[in-house]
Symmetry: C2
Subunit: 375 residues, 2 copies
């Protein structure tokens, strides 16, 4: 097991990464809470619960199990009305300010659960037990919680840090391989923007990682979290450094929006976005040709990436409507060598058009289709 | 004009109390925001807006007025679905993280507006411009924001401090007199639990205060806010001292719940609750007979209090279902002399029954009816 300390202005907590955390959870909660397992509520999805309920409940007292709340899967349930229904259920079950909520699931369960904990009785404690690779390396660290509006994703929410995060890598053994690979793109991102050692490791060990070798997975997950923890520790409220985490997201978000979040997984869209941003870096000479090639090669190593047929104008249109660009400033994150990134604010429409077109050409010719990568 | 500094662990801001703040608001906002009047959104009620729009808009640039969002009056609109609708409107109007929300209205506008600001894009700046006495002396200070669930009032929300509070006492000139008096009970409470000077002032100047003499009102409002600011500064998250602010609330909330929030205004219910708590203080000898008499006399000075016909069992039943007593501990705040209060946790059912019955006897015989005090 590895432990990563997350420090930020308003909170500090530990992320535990390793195998077997789930079946020993109750005892570990006593350590972080400083008290026994009473008043524990679990938010999870029916699918996760049907797979893991036995392991989850193993360490809890059989006569006094935690109360289980369910969130149906799918982005359409990541809304305020879901949060309201869950809050009513908590109140009904007599949760109070001393209760603990465990968010046990993927990114949506984490975002909704964290937000529910942030606003129920003006804030109760919660812990994250992320079950997907993406949730383990990304959304469980940073304190961002929230739900969608019709007007856009994650437009309402809070910064609310968990008491602790338990990333049990054993849970990744049952993850569909497309989801595993989509999550690994976040680790690839971590390597590119700030962690040259992780970058090199992922170059050399793609076989072991994709075969879910426990040691390899544990290293990749903990190194990715370490990178994010450092960045968030330096810039909790996203005023500076944290922006580099958006590498690949300018066009990644635009791809998701233009395809209505239906064709690509988030990580896959970000992967195409990283390729575009890298080509912009090459044009701007923040990376050499050799470095750009290494980056693209690493991304495709964790593919296949689904092919994309999208008119460039539709993509650019979606990019300008992105909430992060509302102030009128378009910030693009470029790789700077391997293991470093820079934020540029002066990217012209023409430049963006060029790299979007170049990326879309590659994406059209990709051999993988969304069907072929579906599990 | 008087200025009160509110300091708390996570924030510091000023409460300005005086006449004419509304018509100079835009210039004052520049001072607290450090920038011009762009990106300003106002949440208000149609009623308030029809009375005060001209004064409000006077100091804003005519070519670039703030955007106005409306909240219909009534507790039934203090819900998450209202917050969602308002958030969609903000997004539609292109509000972003640098926008400012002004909550311009009574307590409900303040609670909903503060919560909207707390969660829109994970938190934007807001200021309070409270228009009722109750909102000026109570809900605008302390950072509590939130909305109701079916399961109970204020069960979801955030602690989110405003950038500043502008309590324009001129707005109180149009307040119905029953609402004025209901708000004054919060000032009476402030005097009893922590501000002997305010207590004495309200004893000697009831005539001037009820006649809305500007100087008298300004003193009462600022002294009440000063008291609350001190308490909240010492105990932001309601773990200790802040509990004394609940003086009168154990039975006050129960009266509101048992009458379904329809008969009495909040301040009136708290006034009856203060009378019961004072009688318990007398029984427990935390106040002398003379002190208890002075307290009751002051409360009735700001009456008339509506009569109440309520079986004692129904009241006590509502008291046990109150969310603040969920943990099983019943905390009651007793006056301790004049200008001080104590929290007791060992009040027996029999003791509570006795004082509730004694208070209800007085309340049944009160000459005022809810009809007679209606404006």
């Amino acid at each position: 097991m590895r432990t990563i300390q997350v420090k930020s202005g308003s909170a500090g907590y530990s992320v535990f990464v390793g195998r077997g955390l789930l079946s020993t959870l109750s005892r570990r909660l006593v350590n972080v809470r400083g008290k026994g397992p009473r008043g524990v509520f679990v938010l999870t999805s029916p699918e996760i619960w049907s797979l893991w309920a036995d392991a989850f409940l193993e360490s809890f007292p059989h006569q006094d199990p935690p109360s289980i709340l369910f969130l149906q899967p799918g982005e359409e349930h990541k809304r305020l009305r879901t949060v309201e229904r869950l809050a009513e259920q908590l109140a009904e079950a007599r949760a109070d300010r001393s209760s603990l909520l465990i968010a046990f699931g993927g990114g949506i369960v984490g975002d909704v659960g964290g937000f529910l904990a942030a606003i129920f009785m003006r804030g109760i404690d919660y812990v994250q037990v992320p079950t997907t690779l993406l949730a383990q390396v990304d959304s469980s660290v940073g304190g961002k919680t929230g739900v969608n509006l019709q007007a856009g994703k994650n437009l309402v929410g809070c910064f609310h840090h968990p008491l602790a995060v338990f990333a049990d890598t054993e849970l990744l053994q049952t993850l569909p391989s497309r989801e595993l690979r989509a999550g690994l793109f976040e680790s690839v991102k971590a390597g590119i923007i700030r962690h040259p050692k992780l970058f090199g490791y992922m170059e050399r060990n793609a076989g072991a990682i994709l075969a879910r070798d426990p040691k390899a997975i544990e290293y990749v997950v903990s190194a990715s979290i370490q990178m994010k923890a450092e960045v968030v520790g330096i810039d909790e409220l996203e005023n500076g450094l944290r922006m580099i985490l958006n590498y690949g997201h300018t066009l990644g978000h635009a791809i998701e929006a233009a395809t209505r979040y239906r064709k690509l997984l988030h990580g896959e869209a970000v992967a195409w976005g990283m390729i575009a941003a890298t080509r912009l870096g090459l044009a701007r000479q923040t990376v050499t040709r050799a470095q750009a090639d290494r980056i693209e090669k690493l991304i495709f190593e964790y593919g296949p990436l689904p092919s994309l047929r999208l008119p460039v104008d539709r993509l650019l249109d979606a990019a300008t409507r992105d909430k992060k660009n509302r102030s009128g400033v378009r910030r693009v994150i470029l790789p700077s060598g391997i293991g470093n990134a820079v934020v540029v604010e002066d990217v012209t429409d023409a430049e963006l058009h060029d790299v979007a077109e170049s990326m879309l050409r590659t994406a059209r010719e990709s051999s993988a289709t969304t069907d072929s990568v579906k599990e």
